[in-house]
Subunit: 334 residues, 2 copies
């Protein structure tokens, strides 16, 4: 009986060992970044993650400090032929125009109603925020959440004829998952409206609302029929772009990221803030080089202009993703 | 051999069953809230948690929506004879007074230098924020972090002669741990300065910096000798008190809490926002009734005034903690 017990134990042990071994093998064989072509770009990511997550490494970073911040427009999802939120704004301006006759002669509203994209882009981030305040205010936060969700359910991108939430970058989705699997906490830090993103980013990127930093308008607390609401006011509260990004990061997260991902000059200060204060840090710029599968644009673009940050990437040894060369595919549906 | 295999299996199964059973027993026997006396107050907490965490329950709330917000001053740590941050401010004002001769004749600075607590309290939250701006600005965020940490290491409370970070409420620490063990994400939402809290709340409460909402001053991004810093400006950015609490919650967290914990009129709107929009929700007010072990104060207090919120608690069926009756001990060291 004793011998048989031993045999039972042995079989059990071998079975256990085998399952551990096959588990390791499966993990080793499954590439966590399958949509990234092998090469220096991909290696820079996996090398960084290995350095900061290896306990024996001098560069080890404890999990609670593994903060990674991602721009949204042009970094996680499409931003051409215009910011998605701008497409939303155009629809809202057109819908609200009959109630606001003055808009026909006032910029940036006139540009929207005339379909004059040049004039609209020229109004810049500030013009965009004016449009946001005018079209995003005058309702409760819950009502706005519903307006955004309803719009996203029906709106289609002009080029791909798909919902915008499908026009997200598959390699970046894999990167988000890979970082989280390695103990990182992933945040969005976007010039886009914080309340425009929150209704859909959790389902789309696995990033919960409390890990979203963005531009915002002011709100007012009110009791309505005994129920508390937050009413959205036509007044800009914060613009989370350029120097606003490190400010927003400090305010919302309260510690410095160790990795930051962007694609335009609006991300320059976030990348500086993240990478230039010492320690092993990681900065990455998505360079849109693929006119065939997506769009090719950089220094001259009205949306997602990448000029100073491209020069800074070379100077600071940030990784620059060449979409055409580095990505096996761009969108999940391809 | 077949019989013996069966017997081995049986022994293994019984062993497994036994360990599961003893595990349950150990869990059932260990009270997660040992510093709370048994009674209606404690039961209201455990009943709520059971309702929202039981999958079969109609009131089940998925873990990602189990957001709980806690005021800090008077709810998690002491706020008498004055807010701890005010004690910090007094020290800073005294240290900086020689460089600011005008303060001797200008309120609220005069009150600080004269030691006139009545005049100081009369200047209210606004006066406090003026003092904050004047004493908390003019340095980088990293420098301020160090100033706060150094001060907390040496400062002692006048009554207990202990570091302020020991003057935290043991029953509330247990409550934080209990909620987190039940899948809740715990946040601080305080009128106190967000950057005054972040250096120490993770070690003290287990709440990471990114789960802290508080009052703030504006910062400016600068490059200094090639290193990015955020410079603190003497300009108020946000006051996270009263109606500011739901606004701050919405901005930082982006979803409505299902449980909120406070102790003063400054928490009224947070409790309304949390509990009055439908669903099974939980509101709790810590009522300071124990003059012997701590302090007894409510409707007439200069700090942590509890008046309207106490009436609202009765009207809205929020739990009111009677510290003297409900808490076995107040501080961890007792």
């Amino acid at each position: 009986m004793r011998a048989i017990d031993r045999r039972t134990l042995l079989v059990a042990s071998v079975g256990l060992g085998l399952s551990v071994w096959t588990g390791d093998l499966a993990r080793a064989q499954s590439d966590p970044l399958p949509s990234w072509n092998d090469g220096a770009t991909k290696k820079s990511i996996t090398d960084f993650v290995a350095r900061v997550t290896t306990q024996a490494s001098a560069d080890f970073v404890p999990p609670d400090q593994r903060i990674a911040t991602f721009d949204n427009d042009g970094t996680l999802w499409i931003e051409q032929p215009m910011y998605v939120q701008l497409a939303f704004i155009l629809d809202r301006v057109k819908a609200l125009a009959p109630l606001n006759p003055g808009w026909a002669t006032t910029q940036p509203f006139k540009a929207v109603l005339d379909g004059d994209m040049q004039a609209l882009a020229a109004s810049g981030e500030k013009g965009l925020m004016e449009l946001m305040a005018a079209t995003h205010a005058g309702m409760t936060t819950d009502e706005f959440h519903k307006i955004v969700s309803d719009w996203l359910a029906s709106a289609r991108d002009p080029k791909y004829k798909r919902p915008y939430t499908e026009l997200i970058y598959q390699p970046m989705l894999e990167l988000l998952t890979y970082l989280r699997a390695n103990g990182f906490k992933t945040f969005i830090v976007s010039g886009g409206g914080i309340e425009f993103m929150r209704p859909w980013v959790e389902k789309t990127y696995g990033i919960p609302p409390e890990q979203v930093v963005g531009s915002s308008i002011k709100t007012r607390f009110q009791m309505r029929d005994g129920k508390p609401v937050l009413f959205r006011l036509p007044e800009i509260n914060f613009i989370d772009d350029k120097t606003g990004k490190p400010i927003g990061i400090n305010e919302h997260i309260g510690r410095r990221p160790i990795a930051a991902f962007g694609n335009s000059d609006g991300d320059l200060e976030m990348l500086q803030w993240t990478t230039l204060a010492g320690g092993v840090r990681f900065g990455l710029i998505v360079h849109h080089t693929d006119a065939e599968r997506e769009y090719a644009y950089d220094r001259q673009s009205h949306f997602g202009k990448l000029d100073k940050a491209l020069d800074a990437a070379a100077a600071n040894q940030w990784t620059v993703v060449d979409m055409k060369r580095d990505w096996k595919r761009v969108f999940p549906f391809q």
